[in-house]
Amino acid sequence: MSQNGNYDAHEIKADELLPVAQQESQGDDGNAAAAAAVPLLECRRLTKRYTGGRDALSDINLKIYGNRIIGLLGPNGSGKTTFIKLICGLLMPTSGEVLVCGMRPGVESKHLVSYLPDRIYLNEWMRVHRLISFFEDFYDNFAPDKAYSMLERLGIDPDAKLKNLSKGTKEKVQLILTMSRRASLYLLDEPIGGVDPASRDFILGTILSNYNPGATVIISTHIISDVERILDDVIFLSNGKIMLAGAADEIREKNGKSIDELFREVFKC
C-alpha cells in the first residue's frame, strides 16, 4: 500500500501548531497518476450550517482515493456525523459540494457507498433473515452468504426478531450488513462507540477482514487507542474544520507521539 499519492488534503488551512500534511508536494509517479484519477471522495468548500446555529462544518476541502483506512477523529460535536451524512445524502450542504467518484450523492453514489450510521435504523418488525433479503433485494453488491457466515460466527440467530435483540446485538447486525457489501467506500460512524472493549477488537477484526479489497474505509470515532493501529491516514476535525490531515505514520513521526496522545493533547479540555 503506497503511503504517497492516495491521500491529498490541499487547500486546508494549516493550523499553526499542527501543520497539515501536504503530500501533493512530495509527488512521485504514483502520485501523479492518482492525482489525475477521479477521487473516490472529494469535498469542495463543503459547508453545513443548521438553522439558527453555528457552522457544523465549514469550508472543508478534501480529496480521498482508494485503498486507505482513514480515521475521522474529533471530539463530540466536531462535525464527524454531519460530514458522513452529507456524503450519504441524508443532509444537504449549505454551500460547496461533496462528490463520490465525481458524482453528487444520488442513486449511483449510493451503489458505491456502504454506510453504518451512529444509530439503530432497523425496522423492528423484521426478522434478521428478512433484513438480509431486504439488502439482497436492493443492493446488487450485497453478499448474503458472507452475512450469514458472520451471523453464525457471532451466534446471532437469523430467525430472531429484531425487536427482541439487545442494542449491542442490533449494532452487530448493522455492522454485518454494512460489511457484507462489496462497496468502494465504507463510512462507519462510531462503529465501536457503544460496545465493550472486548467486542471492539472483534468489530475491528470484522471490518478489516471483510471490506472490499481496494476500497477505502472511513471510521469516525473518538476512541482512538483501539483503532490507531489499523489507520493509514487520520483527519482531525475540530469545530467543523479540518485541523490536521495526513498519513498516520508521518504524523506520529513528526510529533514524536502516538495519534492517541496527540488527540488528547490537542483536544484537552
Binding site: Y50, T51, K85, C88, G89, L90, L91, M92, V107, E108, K110, H111, V113, Y115, P117, R119, I120, Y121, L122, N123, W125, R130, F134, D137, F138, Y139
Partner: protein, 272 residues
Amino acid sequence: MLRKLLKYELLSTGRIFLPLYLALLGVSVILKAFMLIEKSARIYIVPQVLLTVLYIILVIASFALVYIFSCMRFYKNLLGDEGYLMHTLPVKPYKHIFAKLFASILWLIASFIIAAASVIILAYQKGLFEYIFKMINNLMAAVGLSWSQPSVVWTTVAMVALSVASCINGFMMLYASMAVGQLLRGHRIIGSILAYFGFYTASQIISLVMLFVISRTGMWRTLEEGNLGIIGTGAWNPFSAFFTIVTVLYIVYLILYFIITNYMLSRKLSLE
C-alpha cells in the same frame, strides 16, 4: 425497485391490516349467527350489543388506521431513524413516495371491500342484490334517468374519479406536510402540523375562489335547483361538469403536493 419497495411496505402494514380484516369479518359472522339463532331471547342481548359496538369500532378502525399508518410509515420510515436505511438505498426519492402512496391506496380499497363484505354478511337475505338494484333503478326512473343515457354513465364516472382523486389528494397532502415539516429541526411534528394547516388553508382559498367563479355561471343555478333530471340532458351537464372541474382541481393539488414532497426528499432532506 418500486415493486420491491411496495413489497416491504405491504409486508410491514399487512401485519396490522390482515388481522384487522379477519377480526372484522369474524365479528360480522358471529353477529350474524346471533341474529339467526334467536331474535327474542333476552340472554343474547348483552353479547349482541357488545358485538355490535365492537363491529362499529372495527369498521371505523379499518379506515382510520389507513390514514394513521400512512402518516406513521412516511414519518418513521422516511424521516425518522429508519430513513437512515431507506435514503441510503440506491432508489430515487419519488419511488419511495409512490411506494407509500400505492400501499395506502391499496389498503383503503381493501378496507372498502372488507367493510362492504361485512355489511353483506350482516344484511344478506335471499334476493338482497336484486332488491338493491331494483331500488336504484326505481330511484333513477323517478327523476327520469336510466343507465342507457350516456350522460348518466359519464356523470357516474366523474363522481368515481372525484372520490379517487380526493383520496389520493388526502394522502399526498399529508406527505407534503411532513416533507416540509422536517425542515423545522427539533420541532418536526409541529412543523408538519403547521405545514398541513398551511396547505389546507391555501387549498380552501383556491377552492372558494373557484366556487365563486362557478356561482356566477348558469351552471350553479341548475345545481341549486337540485333537479337531477338535468343529468339526462347531455354528457356535459351541470352535474358532470361540476364533478369534473372539482376532480381536475384535486388532480392539480395532488400533483403540486407530489412535486413539493419529491423536491423536499431529494433536495432538502435533513434527517436528525
